[in-house]
């Protein structure tokens, strides 16, 4: 078991997502920054859908009760193992009683902790991703326990993975959304020339952007939305749906974020800036 001494602001278990239930309104869920999680699971030679901890803004304090290997990635949060600093993308061994704790958020917004073999919490509807009310809780609390298997023999092929991360990226690659054609010249200019600021309203469901563009009067029938769909409200507000976002909506879908852009955005917090570029 992994014991959660302190849970931090919002720490949840996430995997590659809950596929196959969007027709009954269940969002895909899964890690917000799947780009990073893919790398971490690759370093540990895990399955693509191995479950990790997603740690938002402030980190937890965790006690390991079984020997295994871990790797951290995503946001930089001054993580330590028994008070010694940890680096991202590097494999560390943990033994019984080891404590990983997090400090100040330095860069990015969501940190990930992956473990050899993945966390083994219960699967609900094919996934371990926490999403209420599909799973009974949507984040971990103090004193919760998360199961994992011990692994004493893992010898990583890569012990440290040196690639640029996406924490500094601010450019979001997008495709034209289904209702892109409703945009006029003024809207298009603003859309692609503005550095948009992340609004306070940002979470696993959606990110709102502070700067509005010109609104619209299109009345459309409710239709499917995806994670990464950029909706335009009649008042001109831009809302980007994320992994726990609603599966259908009635606002025009003007842009669709590329997979990597969803990960880039997932590392942004209130006040950060992003801009759009057509892929």
């Amino acid at each position: 078991m992994l014991k959660v001494l302190k849970s931090g602001f919002f720490t949840s278990i996430q995997d590659a997502g809950r596929f196959g239930y969007r027709d009954i309104g269940v969002p895909i869920s899964g890690a917000m920054d799947m780009w990073t999680v893919g790398k971490l699971n690759m370093i540990l030679e895990n399955a693509e859908d191995a479950a990790v901890l997603e740690i938002t803004m402030t980190g937890p304090t965790l006690v390991f009760e079984l020997e295994s290997s871990i790797v951290l990635g995503g946001a930089e949060m001054s993580a330590t193992l028994n008070n010694k600093p940890l680096r991202n993308h590097k494999v560390y061994q943990v033994v019984e009683g080891d404590i990983v704790s997090y400090g100040r958020l330095e860069k990015g917004f969501r940190a990930y902790l992956a473990i050899k073999g993945g966390f083994k919490s219960q699967k609900v509807m094919g996934s371990r991703s926490m999403y209420f009310p599909v799973t009974p809780i949507n984040h971990l609390s103090d004193r919760d326990e998360v199961p994992y298997d011990t692994d004493k023999s893992f010898e990583p092929k890569i012990t440290e993975y040196k690639v640029p991360n996406l924490l500094e990226d601010t450019l979001l690659q997008v495709h034209k959304g289904p209702e892109y054609q409703i945009l006029g010249d003024r809207q298009l200019e603003k859309l692609f020339a503005t550095d948009f600021t992340i609004a306070k309203e940002n979470n696993r469901m959606a990110y709102q952007l502070q700067e509005p563009i010109q609104g619209h009067q299109l009345s459309m029938l409710t239709s499917a939305t995806l994670s990464g769909t950029v909706q335009l409200t009649p008042a001109g507000k831009l809302i980007i749906l994320m992994k726990d976002g609603q599966t259908t909506g009635g606002y025009p879908r003007i842009l669709q974020l590329d997979d990597k852009a969803i990960s880039t955005l997932a590392q942004k917090k209130y006040g950060d800036q992003v801009s759009f570029k057509l892929a």
């Binding site: 596929f19 196959g20 239930y21 969007r22 027709d23 009954i24 309104g25 269940v26 609900v124 509807m125 009310p133 599909v134 799973t135 495709h175 959304g177 289904p178 459309m220 029938l221 409710t222 239709s223 499917a224 995806l226 990464g228 769909t229 609603q246 599966t247 259908t248 909506g249 879908r253 669709q256 974020l257 590329d258 997979d259």
Partner: protein
């Protein structure tokens, strides 16, 4: 033959949006559902998700991007051939609603604004059957069509921060049930204690797009009983198979 002219567009690189004429019509929904059945027999359903809603069908592929040019052509071929696919069984679900004013917290206000008595309002709400045109927004939230114009009422000017699970509401031309506690601006006229969505059940959602819903009024005592049944997961809902006429 009931074949429409479809619009097929890419929706990012992992999805394709197929659209029928921009109308709320049973015949269009029927055509979408028939096409869906045809697609299910042609696609690897471990890789694909199909999301129908009103006049659209969105196909979402897991993993690799879709070759749009190639796949959209294939879709049109399948659409032309779909006439041979037999439609899926449809059901009419009869759902118990307690229209007590303790649950129907806007009943009195709605009855005043619509200029009818509460019994008249309940009578109108329970008389019609409603078609499920889509499920989305929240797990198990049904977009229902077929509300009588006499019950059309604008959503509340200020949404409530908290609407309870099971609340039955009216808003514009829509009626529906909140499948979980959430903020909301609908006028609440009752409560349905039977969960439409339950992650512990297989399938987790009883109702599917194309099914029909009818509400019937029950007493507080019966409602309490259904609530307990819902919590422990033992409940029976009256469902009636709808006869589908062949082509």
């Amino acid at each position: 033959m009931n074949t429409y002219s479809l619009s097929i567009r890419p929706f990012g690189v992992h999805a394709i949006l197929v659209e029928w004429p921009n109308k709320v019509q049973e015949a269009i929904l029927e055509d979408i559902l028939q096409f869906m059945e045809c697609l299910k027999s042609n696609l690897d359903m471990h890789l694909w998700e199909l999301v129908p809603a009103y006049n659209s069908l969105t196909l979402i592929r897991r993993g690799d991007p879709i070759d749009f040019e190639k796949f959209s052509g294939q879709l049109r071929e399948w659409y032309d051939e779909k006439g041979t696919t037999s439609p899926k069984d449809k059901f009419l679900w009869r759902l118990p609603v307690c229209y007590d004013i303790d649950f129907g917290i806007d009943l009195e206000d709605v009855s005043q604004r619509l200029g009818m008595s509460i019994p008249e309002l309940i009578d109108l709400h329970t008389k019609n059957t409603y078609t499920v045109f889509g499920i989305g927004f929240l797990p198990g939230f049904m977009y229902l069509g077929g509300l009588t114009s006499a019950l059309e009422i604008p959503r509340k000017a200020t949404p409530r921060l908290k609407v309870v699970k099971g609340a039955v509401g009216l808003a514009g031309r829509q009626t529906g049930i909140y499948p979980q506690e959430s903020p909301g601006g609908w006028n609440i006229i009752g409560n349905c204690a039977i969960p439409i969505f339950d992650a512990k059940k297989n399938p987790p959602c009883l109702v599917k797009v194309g099914d029909k819903i009818q509400f019937y009024g029950i007493s507080r005592a019966e409602h309490e009983l259904h609530k307990i049944e819902g919590e422990v997961g033992i409940y029976q809902i009256e469902k009636i198979k709808i006869d589908v006429k062949g082509p």
